[in-house]
Symmetry: C2
Subunit: 146 residues, 2 copies
């Protein structure tokens, strides 16, 4: 049996985070010792590892909740889990595209800063003036005006 501290160390999750996961129902309420301390077994460790891993992959806690409920009834078809993974993949690809454009722009900014005064600093200038942006990068304007 593991105390919450050992569990957290093994799963790579901080102690308050484990209690938080229990509080929001991602982890079942743990059994307690005589002195009211939480005790965990192998199943809890696996479940927490699952959550940890999914978080690392960028799944929201809501998506993880869905995945867990799927894995709790393993006779259902795989379609739902597949859909969740596909949605996440699409989201990841969107973020990748954004970050790539963003990186290009930041590199441009950094390269152009020749160490002069702020007055001629391209970092400030580029941030202040949209027209200095690279060609067709439109900075989420579509996203931000709904």
């Amino acid at each position: 049996m593991l105390t919450i501290g050992k569990l957290g160390a093994q799963a790579g999750v901080k102690v308050p985070t484990i209690r938080y996961y229990e509080q929001i129902g991602l982890l079942p309420e743990a059994g307690r010792s005589a002195g009211n301390q939480r005790l965990y077994g192998r199943k809890a460790l696996e479940r927490l590892a699952f959550i940890r891993h999914a978080r690392d992959l960028g799944f929201t806690l809501e998506a993880i909740r869905d995945l867990l409920s799927l894995s709790d009834n393993p006779e259902q078809p795989c379609v739902a889990a597949d859909a969740i993974a596909r949605a996440q993949l699409a989201e990841v690809e969107r973020r990748l595209a954004r970050l790539t454009a963003l990186k290009a722009e930041l590199e441009r900014m950094v390269v152009q800063c020749a160490g002069g005064k702020i007055a001629d600093c391209r970092v400030i200038e580029v941030l202040g003036d949209h027209s200095l942006c690279s060609t067709d990068h439109r900075h989420l304007e579509s996203e931000a005006s709904p």
Copy 2:
């Protein structure tokens, strides 16, 4: 003179967000009309565009606060602004690396889910079992254990 709505439309920032920026001191308190409504001029528009642009590039509001205070004294050397931009670039590169690994794993998950039952679905398994991860993708274990 622009009302807050026009300002927001021109800068691509929602009205409550502008009030929020004023509240946390990123924008100075705006002048008011006879009827107590905020009124903005060209300078406010520029400052807001700067903030908007920097947010799009992923700068935190704290970093933006620093950049703004820099640009308010334009006789200083550029080094600080350069450092902020470089830090931002490094952070973006970290996120890119993570997302790229993540995408590979999600693709693997989606491919392996061939439409069977959950019981044989790798999507769940991959997330639950670290050892099934692709080669050397270590899922931030280093980052998460401080």
